[in-house]
Symmetry: C4
Subunit: 124 residues, 4 copies
């Protein structure tokens, strides 16, 4: 399929709640970057994470194979360092080929979960 998307995306909202209720891993509070690579070449993706009071973390490096989607939990990013919980952050996601990025949070701090999802920002 012809590639669809952009090479540079930003998500200004980020927050991994430190608490969860319900069975893991489905109901673990998490933030996810949903990445679609609809093209025929692998996507080399880099995520940089910004904070309010310290220098950025990263880049975190991922590969999304051709014609695949990767739903990457920020909770699971470990290298070069884990993302702190209960901390505001933002992210910039770059790729060497066009991708589409959408952001989702499951917040299970309380008995009933809340969900949010937003298309990431791109300037093309």
């Amino acid at each position: 399929m012809e590639p669809i998307g952009e090479r540079r995306w930003a998500i200004a909202e980020g927050y991994i709640p430190g608490q969860s209720t319900g069975p893991e891993p489905e109901m673990l509070s998490h933030e996810t970057a949903c990445i679609l690579n609809a093209g025929d070449e692998p996507a080399q993706v880099e995520i940089t994470v910004f904070f309010s009071d310290r220098d950025p973390a990263g880049p975190y490096r991922l590969t999304v194979p051709p014609r695949r989607t990767l739903h990457q939990r920020f909770n699971d990013l470990e290298d070069p360092e884990p993302i702190p919980r209960d901390t505001n952050y933002a992210s910039v996601i770059t790729s060497d080929v066009p991708i589409v990025v959408q952001h989702t949070r499951l917040d299970s701090r309380q008995a009933e979960n809340a969900l949010l999802s937003t298309i990431a920002y791109t300037s093309g």
Copy 2:
């Protein structure tokens, strides 16, 4: 009415929960592609579904009549194959005339439901 929209859309987030609570069909957990065809010609729409670990499924073919909206549940896509539950996916939606696509999920795995909605991505 003059057509409004684009011919190519992408939704990077997709997940149909395998469990539901509450009366069906309204409260069945579902993901929906809300498609608006505001123009005067029928829209021939194709949906391709991408996964993390296998080749894409589809295309699923739909027709949206002129000056109509179709709120298509991914749960109900059957041909060429149903969408698996509890599985991350993404989708690309194409049309031969301009349409507008918005994505909504009702998650009723728990007693109280969660909703999310996001405009799909388009590059025009």
Copy 3:
């Protein structure tokens, strides 16, 4: 302030739940088109509502004064006809001056409410 926005918007998702819980009017299930007119001229706005199985309704006519916001509940549209409950719909919103449109739903069918919000689509 210099105007910001566009003259033509679309919201592909629309659904007013027929049931609510909690005190009205705050907790009445509703869909809202949040319209911002940041410019110095009044905005003459028209809303056309599309359905899956009948011709469109409207136009519904509104005026948003200069440098004001109007959060219009679809529930309250009466002329030329009310929007049916428990029915999928979509909408196109046009204005003679630039406006910004965002879409919000409060769903209070169950004890705990769900919220969604999405920027409307515009092609400029």
Copy 4:
């Protein structure tokens, strides 16, 4: 990092619930403008708040340091005046350098919280 974003953003939806449940400050009902300044220069940001029945408030002035994110609660804006609770509003956010803006609401009026998030509108 190369700057990413735009200089002018609008959020048509705004509403700070006057009531909350759960521990503060995390679970206090709030609206937040999540601002990312990925560039190497400080961002001088101004927020103007629009209402349905009175002249706009502001500008509220903020600085976002280079390579930092600021998650600004509208609840905490005090100068030149606080934002009233239980009141519909909208906002325009301008910056002298490119930024990315995303809007989030936590609504904790009821026992279980609702979340929403939307990318702000920008015309570039």
